[in-house]
Point group: C2
Chain length 346, copies 2
C-alpha cells in the first residue's frame, strides 16, 4: 500500500543564530504503508510530536571528531528528522507491535514514521490520560524534570530552588515537583503573562521576568535572601553566572539545557573562585541517564495528575506544516509549557 | 617572659594583579612567651609554614556580603596572617598541649603564634618522617590531593587523568596517586625542567609545558587520543575550557584551585553544550570537606612513603623575611612542589 508522507527537513545547517523559516522545507515523498516480508520494521502514523530546543544542536554541521563525541546525532540535509512523539501503528513486521497499537518513542517530524526494527519505540497504555501527556509530562520532558531535579540536584526539603525558563516544558515541571517536595521555588521567564502563571497557577513562591530586570544578580539576591541551594539551568549564559554568585555552600547546578547558547556563542563564565570556596557542583545531564528512575517518575507523576496536584501546561499547534514555526517560536519564548504539534486526529 | 615576634603582614589589599614585595611588610612586635593564668591559649614557636596560592584570595578586600559567603576569612591590614604549619609549644594554658610538644595546624607567617584556645592545632607525632612532610605531603596539600582525587573525581583504574600545575604542591601528588592507582596520567607545568621531572621522576605518562604549546586543545587531543575522564584543575581559565572540550562522557572536573584567575579577571567559559551532552560534572572542593578520609589518606600515604613509591617534592626557603618572595614566586611558577618557609631550627 503506497501513500505519501509530508515531513519537515532542513535545507541548510544552522550553525549560527536563530532558526528561520528559510532553513526548513516541507517535503512530500511516496511512503509505503506496509512492511516487507521478513522485515522487523514498524510503520507508524504520527499523532503528536514533541518540539524541543535541543534539535537546534543537531542542525549544526559538525566535524567528524565533534560528531564522535556529540550525543546528538546530526540531522542530514533533506532527511527526515526524528523526534519524540506518540503515534498509531499502521503496519508491523515486528512481533512486539500490532496494527492499531498506540506507541510512544522516537518517531519523526512528519506524517508517518518507518521505525527500523521498532527501535526506541514502546507500546503505549494511555492509562486514561490524554495522549499529549505522554509526549510531555509523562514523556521525556517529565523524565528530564524528574531525573534532573531528584537525581541530579538531590534536594532536601526546605532547600531554595531557582529554575530558569520556568514556563518551559521542563522548567514548569521542575518548579512544581520542587514545590510539592517542600522547597522554596523561584522561577524566571520572559513575559509578564508567564510570570503571573508561575505564581498564580503553578504555586511558585516567586517569579520574575528576566527581560525587565536590570541587574539579575541583585534580583536573585532579593528573591533569595538566604541564597540558592539548587539551580536548575535551562538557559546557560549570564543566568548561570549570576545564579552561581548567589549560591550557598554545597550548591548544585543541574545543567539541563542552555538555550541562550544554542544560537549565540556569547558565553558567561561562572566565577570559579565561588565554585571552589562554596564547593558548588555543576553537572550536565540527559534524561536518558535516569531510565532507572522511570518507574518512580511515572507512579509519582500519575499520582500527582490523578489528585490534580500538578498542572499540565501544553501548547499545541495543528499540522505538520506548523512544525518550523513551532520550533522557531521556542527561541522567542512563544510557547507556554510543552510545545507539541498535532499531526493527525487520534 | 617577653620576647619579640617578627611576622609578615599586608600593607594594602591586593585586589588586582599579582602580589608584589611592596604589598608586604615584615613587622616586629613585643610578644609574650608565657600564657596568662586561666587562659586556654597555646604559644607556639613556628618551625615550618606553608606558602599557598589561596592566601591571595584572603588579601582582597571584600564587601560585607561577599565576606559572609566566602570561606576564606579576609586578612586585615597590619595583622598576623594565619597559615598551616608545624611548630613547637613554648607555653600552654591548654591541658591538651605541653611545653615542647610538636604541633601541626593553623599557625602564622611569623616566628611565634598565639593560638586562641588551641583551636585548629593538633599534637604532632612525626612518625619518623621529616617535619616538612607534615606541612606538605602529610598535611593539607596531601589531603587536598587525596580527597580531591579519590573522593571528588571517584576514579576507576585505567581512566585517563589530566592534572594542571602538575609540579605544584597538590598537582604532583594527584599525579602520583593516580599513577599508583592505575590511571593514565598527563600533567602540564610551566617549564621544561618541570616537565622532565614529571616524566622522569614522578612517573607521569606524559607531560607538557603549556607555555610552549600554541593550541592547547590540540595538545590535549594528541596526548589523550581516547579523551580525558578526569581533570584535576589547579589553574582554571583557558585550561579548564580546553580540558572540557577534550573530555569523555561522564567526565569529572575537580576544581581545586584556579591560580590563573586569582590575579587576573580574564575567565574562559567551558562550553556548556559539552557539559550537557557529555554529562560532565564540575565540582569545587576544599580539603576540609574530606576530614573523614583523613585516616585513609594518612595510612595510604605513609605506606607509600615507607615503601618509596611516592616522591616528595619540597621547595624550602629559610627565614620569616623570605615569606613574601616565596609567596610571590608561586604566581610565577618559581616553586617545584610544596613551597615551605623554614622559620627556625627544630
Amino acid at each position: 500500500m503506497e501513500s505519501t508522507n509530508r515531513y519537515i527537513t532542513i535545507k541548510t545547517h544552522i550553525n549560527h543564530g536563530e532558526p528561520k523559516e528559510s532553513h526548513f522545507e516541507l517535503k512530500t515523498a511516496a511512503f509505503g504503508l506496509s512492511v516487507e516480508l521478513g522485515s522487523n520494521d514498524v510503520i507508524v502514523k504520527n499523532l503528536y510530536v514533541s518540539i524541543d530546543p535541543y534539535q537546534i544542536n543537531r542542525m549544526k554541521s559538525y566535524s567528524p571528531s565533534q560528531k564522535a563525541i556529540n550525543f546528538a546525532v546530526g540531522i542530514a540535509l533533506g532527511e527526515v528528522i526524528d523526534a519524540y512523539g506518540v503515534g498509531r501503528v499502521v503496519a508491523s513486521g515486528n512481533p512486539k507491535f500490532e496494527k492499531d497499537d498506540l506507541v510512544a518513542g522516537l518517531i519523526t517530524w512528519g506524517e508517518y514514521s518507518k521505525i527500523k526494527d521498532g527501535n526506541m519505540l514502546n507500546k503505549l497504555d494511555p492509562m486514561g490520560f490524554p495522549l499529549t501527556y505522554h509526549v510531555g509530562i509523562l514523556g521525556f520532558s517529565g523524565l528530564t524534570a524528574y531525573g534532573g531535579f531528584f537525581k541530579v540536584c538531590k534536594p532536601t526539603k526546605g532547600e531554595k530552588v531557582f529554575v530558569s525558563a520556568a514556563a518551559g516544558s521542563v522548567g514548569n515541571l521542575v518548579g512544581q515537583y520542587a514545590k510539592l517536595f517542600g522547597c522554596y521555588v523561584v522561577g524566571c521567564a520572559g513575559s509578564k503573562k508567564k510570570v503571573e502563571l508561575l505564581k498564580e497557577q503553578l504555586g511558585f513562591d516567586e517569579a520574575f521576568n528576566y527581560k525587565e530586570e536590570k541587574d539579575l544578580k541583585s534580583t536573585l539576591k532579593r528573591l533569595f535572601p538566604d541564597g540558592i541551594d539548587i539551580y536548575f539551568d535551562n538557559v546557560g549564559g549570564e543566568m548561570l553566572k549570576v545564579a552561581v554568585s548567589n549560591m550557598n555552600t554545597f550548591g548544585r547546578v543541574a545543567v539541563c539545557g542552555i538555550i541562550s547558547e544554542y544560537t549565540d556563542e556569547k558565553r558567561a563564565a561562572p566565577d570559579m573562585i565561588d565554585v571552589v570556596y562554596k564547593r558548588i557542583t555543576i553537572r550536565g545531564f540527559l534524561a536518558t541517564d535516569y531510565m532507572n528512575a522511570h518507574a518512580d517518575f511515572m507512579s509519582t507523576t500519575c499520582d500527582y495528575l490523578r489528585t490534580a496536584k500538578i498542572k499540565v501546561l501544553e501548547d499545541i499547534t495543528p499540522g505538520v506544516e506548523s512544525i518550523p514555526s513551532a520550533f522557531i517560536g521556542l527561541f522567542h519564548g512563544d510557547n507556554v509549557g510543552k510545545k507539541i504539534v498535532k499531526i493527525a486526529n487520534e
